[in-house]
Symmetry: C2
Subunit: 120 residues, 2 copies
C-alpha cells in the first residue's frame, strides 16, 4: 500500500499520536491495527483499535467528536504513527481538548471544551 | 511521587511522546520505565528505555542532541506521557529534526538539521 514498512509490535499494534494539525496541540495517544489504519485511510477519519474492548473503533463514533485526517506520518523506524487531524469538539472523554491536560504533578493545564454529561 | 497514577503496560513500559515546547512539532515516540521517568525528573533531561538494547538511555548521550524538559504531562488514563522539551540539534538519528519526517506515502516532509555522518 505504500513504500513505508511498518513495525507492528508483537500484538500487531502501532501507537498513533493524534495532533491538531493547526494548533500543534498533542491530543491523545491510542493504538492502531493494520485494519484500523486501513479504515482511517479509506474514510479520512481517525480509527483506532481498543486494546481493552478488543475492537476497531471510529473516534467520535459515540460523541460526534471525530478527527478528520489532514496527513498521516510515520516515524523513522516505522513503529509509530502521527495523525495530523482536524478535531471536532474535544479529543478527551473528560471534556478536555487534549487527553494530556495534567502535568506529572497533577496540575491542570488543559482547556475544557465540552461537558461530558451532555455528550455521553 | 505524584498524585497521578500510571498505567505501565505488561512490560512495565509507558510510551512517551516528545514535543518541541516552542514550535509544537512532534519529534519522536519512545518508551520509559519508572526508572527512566525518575531519571528524567531528577536531571531535567529526557531519558528513555530502549526495548531492543534493554537499557535506560539519555537522549543525546552520544550525539549531544539532548532534550531539556520544560514540562511533563500525563494523559487521562495514565498510560502515556508527553515530554514538552527544548531539543538541541535534531531528535532523529537520520539528521531530521523530527522522526516523523515522512508521510504514509513516503513523501519527505521533514527538515534536515544535521548530517548524521558528522555526529555518529
Amino acid at each position: 500500500m505504500t513504500d513505508v514498512t511498518f513495525a507492528f509490535d508483537d500484538n500487531e499494534y502501532l501507537p498513533a499520536v493524534a495532533q491538531d494539525a493547526e494548533s500543534g496541540e498533542v491530543l491523545m495517544l491510542a493504538y492502531v491495527t493494520e485494519a484500523a489504519l486501513e479504515k482511517t485511510r479509506e474514510t479520512g477519519y481517525a480509527h483506532y483499535y481498543s486494546r481493552s474492548r478488543d475492537e476497531l473503533w471510529k473516534k467520535g463514533g459515540t460523541s460526534g467528536h471525530t478527527q478528520e485526517i489532514e496527513e498521516i506520518r510515520v516515524d523513522c523506524d516505522g513503529d509509530a504513527l502521527l495523525y495530523r487531524i482536524d478535531q471536532s469538539g474535544g479529543a478527551c472523554h473528560t471534556g478536555y481538548e487534549s487527553c494530556f491536560y495534567r502535568t506529572l504533578d497533577g496540575e491542570d493545564v488543559g482547556e475544557k471544551v465540552f461537558d461530558p454529561d451532555d455528550v455521553y
